[in-house]
Amino acid sequence: MKHHTHLMIGLFIVTGLLMIGAIVLALGVAPDPVNLATPTERFAQRIFYFHVPNWWVGFLAYLVAAVAGALYLISRQERWDAVGVSSIEVGLTFNTIGLISGSIWAKPTWNTWWTWEPRLTTAAIGWLMYVGYLILRSAIENPQRRARFAAVFSILAFLDVPVIFLAIRWWRTIHPVVIGAEGGQGVGGFALGPTIQLVFFFCLVAFTLLYVTLMLVRLRTEFLSQRVERLRQHLMFR
């Protein structure tokens, strides 16, 4: 246990330093993209270094939850349920931040807080689905049943996200496609220079590590609360 604590503290420090580095690099070092005209647009563009890694973490978190759900249904080990709920809570946090910060970027760039565009709509529906997941959990007392239902729901929800995205993409899109698109597409898109790419990948690594850290902290809380629950049962039925 003590050994674990040392590792956790080490991880905290590394993650904290990387996140500070990410802020400095994204705001101070990364150059302005060449094709954005107004200063407002150039300031707003810097969300890119946080916004994209932010959504990557959200996606990763939901993927981890779906895999944990499948592993729970196969193995019936309580710890996979803990991984599932922890990952969805962390993912939902990033999902919420992504929606709000994206809206703030959209205002100067698209001149509107919100538009029913595929990524935005999918993100909003995904948010609703995973809030539903938490409501579902809170409405079930039996831990095994809660774990089973949560696992089934997290797998179905994750499989549904691409279908929803496809369905909504058949309306026209204005969200920028920056990665893998020459010169950037969409309103507010821009080209990626080498420094921009370097800073971006740094931020991606920093955010992924932040996910791992938050996940471990949340998981530890979940294991502790499972242990408290077991002790309580043990005392009650002694």
Binding site: L73, M129, R148, F149, A151, L156, I164, W170
Partner: protein, 224 residues
């Protein structure tokens, strides 16, 4: 073949129970009508925007009244203590799922078929649009019933029961609602089939994939 007979036996049981009590279909139908009327007040439907709003109104009516039916599906079994009996029946759990799903789809389809003519009259839509709209309604109804039946079985085991079903179900069935609305709009606006084809493929794909997934997961939901 004998599987099909067992599935139909469950459907027949639900149908017989409904015909004797008439507790669902009447309420679902009136509710669907109410949704259409409320939209009239809410949007002050006038001649020029009626056609544009019609598909959305139709599908809100179908999904909302369908939700009523779906949530009753398992609550009814549970309240009468027949859920255990159903689960103890010497048949595969998959058979029970398909029976319940088919029953739910049947109830919602009945509502579709009663609401559609009323809808066509109220929105001044050509009668020739009825057959394609009916096909779309059936496909959309299958999409609702697949995941709907699974989540209905889930919701009945929770504290919130019927409150939980729409919260879980609506975000997941967005592709069904979207493609059904788009297809209905294409029929009402008399667009060429090629323009609506991708929505039809999406609806069919969703129907099949999510019915199969729900069929597979049903076992995990009802096990004790």
């Amino acid at each position: 073949m004998h599987h099909l007979r067992k599935i139909l036996a469950i459907v027949a049981k639900d149908l017989a129970a409904e015909l004797r009590t008439r507790e669902m279909l009447g309420a679902m139908f009136v509710f669907a009508l109410l949704v259409i009327f409320i939209f009239n007040f809410a949007f002050e439907l006038r001649a020029e925007n009626q056609r544009a709003l019609a598909p959305g109104v139709l599908w809100v009516a179908i999904t909302f009244s369908g939700m009523l039916g779906l949530s009753r599906s398992f609550i009814r079994e549970k309240d009468r203590g027949s859920l255990e009996g159903l689960l103890l029946a010497p048949v595969d759990r998959g058979v029970i799922f398909l029976g319940k799903m088919l029953g739910n789809a049947l109830f919602i389809a009945v509502i579709d078929f009663i609401v559609l003519p009323v809808f066509v009259v109220l929105f001044n839509i050509p009668v020739t649009a009825l057959p394609p709209l009916a096909v779309i309604a059936v496909l959309g109804t299958i999409g609702l019933s697949g995941v709907g039946t699974l989540f209905s079985a889930m919701a009945v085991h929770t504290r919130a029961r019927e409150v939980l079903l729409p919260v879980l179900l609506f975000p997941l069935i967005v592709p069904v609602i979207l493609s059904a609305v788009k297809l209905s709009a294409a029929v009402i606006d008399n667009l060429p089939f090629a323009e609506a084809q991708q929505w039809l493929s999406l609806l069919l794909a969703f129907d099949i994939v999510f019915a199969v997934l729900s069929f597979l997961f049903f076992d995990y939901v009802v096990e004790e």
